[in-house]
Amino acid sequence: MSHIEIRDVSLVYDTPAGQVPGVQGVSLDMRESEFLCLLGPSGCGKSTLLNIVAGFLTPTSGEIRIGGKAVNGHGTDRGVVFQDFAQLFPWRTALGNVAFGLEMKGIPKEERDEIAFNQLKLVKLEKFVKSYPHHLSGGMQQRVAIARALAYNPSVLLMDEPFAALDAMTRDAMQRLLADVWRETRKTIIYVTHNVAEAVYLADRVIVMTPHPGKVKAEVVIDLPRPRDPLSVEFLDCQKQLLAHLGETHQVS
């Protein structure tokens, strides 16, 4: 049975200027522990779709099921990581941020601090447990955000361009780290990006989306062995294939 089922989901934004289509008629199935990338130019509805799956937006039509249960609003079966570094709570230390979800569950302090510490170790931040977010670099803040989303053990991780605002070197390191984290935790991940190489490096499967209205254009399975070598011929082939799909959607702009 598939872990996530997205059935014919559409969303229309109601704005003062009129109706803006966000996504249109998207259907997808994901198996347990799959790493899926949503790829497309900016403005094509990737974030909209992710926010629908997260439960922050209600689709105008269509349905989403996770583990067989219909999604209705946000829930602790999903963890979310945004692009904005400001997603961390500035009034809490790194540990306090990671422990937040556990605190909401009512887990006693010692236990949740221990779990949070282990999560920070997973993202190699055990030395910065007591730091407040404004003392951490952008990459470190995003690692805290990942640890935070994992700490209360959701089965699905939703990530909206989490590394897009980082410099290229940090981004490469973060991608390797995320691949490791995924190998260890085996979460089902939906990862939004507009970066082709990132999609090929991380994904089991890439969904290419078209803008205006946001639709699924193509689906590409990346069948390369891990850890992947971005300089290999096969890797570049996959990139070319995705770029070709994107190019067709991009002709207008």
Binding site: F56, T76, Q87, W91, G101
Partner: protein, 279 residues
């Protein structure tokens, strides 16, 4: 934010932190540098007083002011006035802080509350607080009650406006993250909305307290309260006791400075500054 008037502590009156780790020498230099302008001012004052540009009674020498200050302090009169003023300030400001934060949060979180309060607050706020004083005196008589009520009324506006703005400015991304981690509404409020809006709320409280302080001195003159620094200064005018009036102003300056430095700087350093939400 924070009144737009920048915190002076960094470069003005030397904050204690800046002394730590420096030699005795540097410390004395800072003290001397800070004292110098006051000495110059005192010298000018003394010259004007002794030249009798104004009649001596109206422009006493510093020695006379100092002796009035000591006399009034030792006899307990000045402390009594100051105490009553502080009680009024605390009472009025406490009411304003509690009511203001609650109203501001309601306005920020609930559309309906915003619809009701915003027009009323926007109409009442632009009228300078003291202009309400005669109306309050007419309605509630002279004395303590209208004075405290007026201070509360006037200082509530900055608290309301800033709390409201702060709650609205809480980042959507924080709310979403917290919800994704399973925070229900009460928890969301306590762990996200309140700390997220805190920089604004503190600014509002600071502005409110400053406002309360400015209005209170005037109110005490108008409301004919038996004790209070404003009343002391005003009453001394009848007998041309300029030395008493100046002593009162010295105490007013000290209290005002203490409110700013001791109360709010501490509170801010402990919270929003530590969190990097305000530098």
């Amino acid at each position: 934010m924070r009144d737009g008037v920048p915190a002076i502590s960094a470069a003005g009156l030397p904050a204690p932190e800046r002394w730590i780790g420096r030699g005795e020498n540097a410390r004395w230099r800072v003290i001397a540098r800070t004292a110098f302008p006051f000495l110059v001012l005192a010298a000018i004052w003394e010259i004007v007083a002794r030249l009798e540009v104004f009649p001596r009674r109206l422009f006493p020498t510093l020695e006379e002011v100092a002796s009035a200050f000591v006399r009034l302090t030792l006899s307990g009169i000045l402390p009594h006035h100051a105490f009553d003023t502080l009680v009024r300030l605390t009472a009025g400001f406490a009411i304003a802080a509690i009511a203001g934060v609650i109203i501001g949060i309601l306005m920020g979180r609930f559309r309906r509350a915003e619809d009701i309060f915003l027009p009323l607050v926007s109409i009442a706020a632009p009228i300078p607080g003291l202009a309400y004083a005669p109306l309050f005196l007419l309605w509630f008589g002279l004395g303590n009650f209208p004075a405290i009520l007026l201070v509360a009324f006037v200082s509530a506006f900055p608290v309301i406006f800033n709390t409201w703005t702060g709650v609205k400015a809480v980042k959507e991304i924080w709310v979403r993250s917290a919800q994704a981690m399973g925070a229900d509404n009460p928890k969301l409020f306590r762990h996200v909305i309140l700390p997220g809006a805190l920089p604004y709320i503190l600014t509002g409280l600071r502005l409110g307290l400053a406002q309360a302080w400015r209005v209170l001195v005037g109110v005490e003159m108008l409301a004919a309260v038996p004790w209070g620094l404003g009343w002391m200064i005003f009453g001394a005018r009848e007998f041309l006791n300029t030395d008493v009036m100046l002593s009162g102003i010295v105490v007013i300056a000290m209290i005002g400075l203490a409110l700013e430095k001791l109360v709010f700087e501490k509170l801010e350093n402990y919270t929003v500054v530590r969190w990097g939400m305000m530098s």
